[in-house]
């Protein structure tokens, strides 16, 4: 068989959910993405005028039907204050994915075979900031009893399990900007090992607050040169790029063992085709020369792919954050693909939505599934003058129609953690 599982269990995606700076909703986000729209604008969550970076990709407020965030459509009003925004956004994406999949376990066995693994890079940063102010102003006894459960990263998984009665493995990944890919990859393996038949997996982030922006500013990681022209700020591989743009949102998929999905006639977006990980062992924020960690992550993903080669991969959704590291990833992809690089399309959707940190990999894996389904490669906005040439088509400015059977998505995180995941068209 062509499956990827160590024990023959294949994993497919049967539900998707996205909350992004372009829209609340996987399909509306995708539509706006391939139209070339940008979700980047001046920060409104707080007054950023004291900080060098003043633009970000914020989830728009508005009616749900128009792709805006109406929180009460996802989280009951009385529960909202018990959760940080990253949990709000994670739940909104997770509920979309579960409803989209149509999976409703009817009995205890079904509930126990359904798990959740939704992580975050940072967690409840605004909550921690607010709580610190309460304590430092001498009101420690007034700290909300919901302070801890509001900030904890695994509480999206917790809340979702309570809402739906999912009693299987309940887990959360925390690997900075690689969280989303690690969550989907690791959750797939839980299904392959038989720990669960269905896993709701992904990542969420809401770190556009003064503490989050100030912290990444101090690390010299954010773009500061396009405060007056926000939609031009995120420009992966372009010679004028000057740092990443913080985004917020969430991406969640429903992963399902293939036979389980077939028995209930589920719609199948695609199959998990391979998953690989590596560590840099080099530096806390900078990748190693030639991004050899990325190279090894992609190689590991292929090794677990049940026989795919670089010639089979049609599209790479790059990590491509709009920093100096873009070209190192390009080095690694060129070296990994060799001659096959010539027929490859690679784009960075962070050009449109910014860098969603712990949610990035999950949202981008969903874009790969939509690219496979629709035969459309999303564009890299603002790639006006590539810092260096490449044989790889980086899909500058406008989306391309292209047959995509297999896509690979890269995510790399602070600490030197790398993950690559392969999504492929489902063929029985």
């Amino acid at each position: 068989m062509s499956g990827t599982a160590t024990n023959g269990r294949r994993v497919v995606v049967t539900g998707i959910g996205v909350v992004s700076p372009l829209a609340v909703g996987a399909e509306l986000t995708w539509k706006r993405l391939i139209e070339g729209q940008s979700g980047i604008g001046r920060i409104t969550h707080f007054d950023p005028s004291e900080l060098p970076a003043q633009v970000a990709g914020q989830v728009p407020d508005g009616p749900t039907a128009e792709g805006g965030l109406t929180l009460s459509d996802w989280v009951p009003v009385k529960d909202q204050k018990k959760m940080d925004r990253f949990i709000h956004l994670g739940l909104a994406a997770a509920i979309q994915a579960v409803e989209d999949s149509g999976w409703k376990p009817e009995d205890e066995d079904g509930r126990c075979a359904t798990g959740v693994m939704i992580g975050s890079g940072i967690g409840g940063l605004q909550t921690i900031y607010d709580g610190s102010l309460t304590v430092s102003s001498g009101k420690a006894r007034r700290l909300s009893p919901f302070f801890i459960p509001s900030a904890l990263i695994n509480l999206i998984s917790g809340h979702l399990s309570i809402r739906y009665g999912f009693k299987g493995p309940n887990h959360a990944v925390v690997t900075a900007c690689a969280t989303g890919v690690h969550a989907i990859g690791d959750a797939s393996r839980l299904i392959q090992y038989g720990d669960a038949d269905v896993m709701v997996a992904g990542g969420a982030e809401a770190a556009i607050c003064s503490l989050g922006i100030a912290g990444f500013c101090s690390a010299r990681a954010l773009s500061t040169g396009s405060n007056d022209d926000p939609t031009k700020a995120s420009r992966p591989w372009d010679k004028d790029r000057d740092g990443f743009i913080m985004g917020e949102g969430a991406g969640v998929v429903v992963l399902e063992e293939l036979e389980h999905a077939k028995r209930r006639g589920a719609k199948i977006y695609g199959e998990i085709g391979g998953y690989g990980m590596s560590g840099d062992a080099h530096h806390i924020t900078a990748p190693a020369e030639g991004h050899e960690g990325a190279f090894r992550a992609m190689k590991a993903a292929l090794r677990n792919s049940g026989g795919l080669t670089t010639a089979d991969i049609d599209y790479v959704n790059a990590h491509g954050t709009s920093t100096m590291a873009d070209d190192l990833e390009l080095d690694a992809v060129e070296r990994f693909f060799g001659d096959d690089a010539k027929r490859l399309a690679m784009s960075s959707t962070k050009s449109a939505i910014g860098h969603l940190l712990g949610a990035a990999g999950a949202v981008e894996a969903i874009f790969c599934l939509q690219a496979i389904r629709d035969g459309i490669v999303p564009p890299t906005l603002n790639l006006d003058n590539p810092a260096r040439e490449s044989v790889i088509d980086r899909v500058a400015h406008v989306a391309q129609q292209r047959k995509i059977d297999v896509a690979l998505s890269n995510s790399f995180g602070f600490g030197g953690t790398n993950a690559s995941i392969i999504l492929k068209r489902f063929k029985d």
Binding site: P76, K78, P145, F146, P149
Partner: protein
Amino acid sequence: MSDIADKVKKIVVEHLGVDESKVTPDASFIDDLGADSLDTVELVMAFEEAFSVEIPEDAAEKIATVKDAIDYIEKQKAA
């Protein structure tokens, strides 16, 4: 109804997201108004803040109904 009772009722409605008509004197926060143990901790904090009173933990544990809260606060304010 006293000012204190009005204010207590308002805080309960706000924090537990329940309909005002359900907030009767005998209503139990946990049994009738859907609160959990953390909700009751937060409610007591809200009472402390709103009425500028201290409600020690052993006293807070005995506040189970709307009336319990009103009685306790009225007693503190009268003292």
